[in-house]
């Protein structure tokens, strides 16, 4: 009993220390797709009770995961969003990071990655030789699944196809102008192109790999070590925002579209709402088994140079209620 009292008192003092200290800045990098929770944390601080008290939320948008990692390595970010495959790649290059929360996964109600060609194109998942493939960045999950498709056909990704990097928003135009033969289209962009018509799905990330890609938020291990309770407070707010997103899709998307944080046509963005939302990510907990399966895939393809200890990559304790 005395021990319990002591423990409670200690916890209260620790929380008081956290509560009355100046808020700690969390500098976090986000991208133009699959980061609804991160965008909402900026747009709707009323959903994040700890923001402004325990931490200051400083979000910066980046065109791609690669740019986020460059800023992270330069010490300009404490955290960022990433596809698990990109996190594995970074970890294999000895970049220290810890996956703290899961935003969504591919082929969920919230996110999917489609690879589209023109409807009358000769290129498909069974014929990619000589194709020009449009991506938003190298060493991203988008590149990974395109490589899976290419290598499944026995082709050499370095010689038998051409890769072109461009902003996500330009890939549709490039496809219709005939400048590329196959392009990567995350959810919103895929919806727009399919609605416009004249395109067909060659494959999706999940259909070509059989492995579910997860999109997570990582933190610097050093930052976690110095500010564990701050990160826990952030994770608690992240859970709140995820629940809000689940339950109020329309309002959430309206806020995102109105803010112009990403360039989307509100009319289209609001139409993407699925009729029934299932729990997308197991309460925001990064899945170790997904990480293991992804690593097996990325190493087998040569996308990831060496295996890493995936058990050390996830700290699920911070997001658990």
């Amino acid at each position: 009993m005395f021990k319990n009292l002591l423990l409670s008192a200690a916890t209260m003092f620790a929380m008081a220390g956290v509560a009355y200290a100046d808020p700690v800045d969390i500098r976090i990098g986000a991208g133009p797709s699959a980061d609804e929770q991160l965008w909402l944390m900026k747009l709707r601080p009323d959903l994040t009770p700890n923001q402004g008290k325990v931490y200051n939320y400083k979000m910066t948008m980046f065109r791609g995961a690669n740019e986020r990692f460059v800023a992270y390595q330069a010490g300009q970010l404490d955290a960022g969003s990433t596809a698990m495959s990109a996190a594995l790649f970074a970890a294999s290059k000895d970049i220290p990071l810890t996956l703290v929360a899961a935003e969504t996964y591919d082929e969920s109600d919230f996110f999917s990655t489609d690879y589209l060609t023109l409807a009358d194109s000769k290129f498909s998942k069974d014929n990619l030789k000589g194709a020009t493939i449009g991506l938003s960045g190298f060493r991203t999950s988008f590149e990974l699944y395109a490589r899976v498709a290419v290598q499944k056909l026995g082709l050499n990704p370095e010689r038998d196809v051409n890769w072109l990097i461009m902003p996500l928003g330009n890939i549709g135009m490039a496809l219709r102008a005939g400048k590329i033969d196959l392009g990567v289209f995350p959810t919103f962009y895929s919806y727009v192109e399919n609605k416009t018509g004249g395109v067909k799905t060659a494959f999706t990330a999940f259909s070509i790999s059989g492995v579910r890609e997860e999109f997570d938020v990582f933190f610097s291990p050093d930052f976690i070590a110095k500010n564990r309770e701050v990160v826990r407070a952030w994770a608690s707010d992240f859970r709140n925002v995820s629940n809000y997103l689940n339950q109020h899709q329309k309002e959430a998307r309206q806020a995102i579209a109105d803010s112009k944080i990403i360039e989307v046509d509100p009319a289209v963005y609001l139409q993407i709402i699925p009729p029934e939302i299932k729990n997308p990510t197991q309460n925001g907990i990064p899945q170790i088994e997904t990480l293991r399966k992804l690593q097996d895939l990325t190493v087998s393809l040569g996308f990831q140079p060496k295996k890493v200890d995936v058990d050390k990559m996830i700290d699920a304790s911070l997001i658990k209620p």
Partner: protein, 262 residues
């Protein structure tokens, strides 16, 4: 005496190149100091190893050839176009009235921002890159040719006319030699522009060329390899510049002893 000459030459070489070693030393200090992530600023020894890797793997030759091909074709077209246009502007008044404002206004505008337009007109392949290189190099060559032609000494023009030179002789024997040093200045300015534009277009969206190596290596967090590719670009640019200087010395032989800085 011979030793003194060798000594002088050695001193001269050190004087001309010591700044490079100062920069390299500063880089090494920063790389090993811990002030910046060593991953982002790898040491010179790591860059050298990566450079050697590029050479022995054949990547440097394969991608370098593609980059140089694009740069030289665009630069070559700009030489012909720029010298012709600059000459016409200097010699024909209505040409001057028509084109001079375009060059004055357009010179500071970064033509690289037109690359998306070039892509949609010429496609993603070599042609859009070559046309952009041509456009960027056209400006300095045209402007230098124009001013070179205009700056021929009047005394020489009058003297040649007094000696009975016709328009053709005046052009080839007086105006062209007068303009040649300035034209070469324009070429020396255009060469690095050609390389820069080639690299930037390859970084933006390409899977071949030295610019692709720079961006792909950076995407793989292999900054040593990326810097090694950048070093290769620098070496190529330096070699081309020295070749231009040698060519200039040969063609403008009367100015051997009074080489301008540019």
């Amino acid at each position: 005496m011979a030793n003194q000459t060798v000594g002088h030459k050695a001193l001269d070489l050190i004087r001309r190149t010591y700044s490079i070693f100062v920069v390299l030393a500063a880089w090494e200090i920063v790389s090993h100091s811990g002030w910046v992530s060593p991953r982002l600023t790898p040491g010179i020894e790591k860059i050298a190893v990566e450079f050697w890797g590029l050479v022995t793997s054949g990547d440097l030759l394969f991608h370098g050839r593609i980059t140089l091909q694009r740069a030289f074709i665009g630069f070559g077209l700009a030489i012909f176009g720029g010298i012709a246009l600059g000459t016409l502007m200097a010699r024909i008044r209505w040409f001057d009235i028509l084109f001079e404002p375009l060059f004055s206004f357009g010179y500071p505008v970064p033509k690289i921002s037109l690359y998306p337009v070039f892509i949609f007109v010429f496609g993603f392949g070599d042609l859009s890159k070559i046309m952009l290189i041509f456009l960027e190099c056209l400006y300095p060559i045209t402007v230098h040719t124009y001013y070179g032609m205009k700056s021929a000494e009047r005394v020489l023009v009058w003297a040649s006319r007094n000696m009975g030179a016709n328009s053709q002789q005046l052009f080839w024997r007086v105006l062209v030699p007068s303009a040649a040093p300035t034209i070469f200045s324009g070429l020396r300015i255009a060469v690095p522009v050609a390389l820069i534009v080639t690299i930037i277009t390859e970084i933006i969206g390409e899977s071949k060329g030295l610019g692709y190596i720079v961006s792909f290596s950076a995407a793989q967090f292999e900054y040593g390899r990326s810097l090694a590719a950048m070093f290769s670009i620098g070496v190529v640019g330096f070699v081309i510049d020295r070749l231009l200087i040698a060519l200039r010395k040969h063609i403008i032989f009367w100015q051997k002893d009074s080489m301008p800085i540019v």
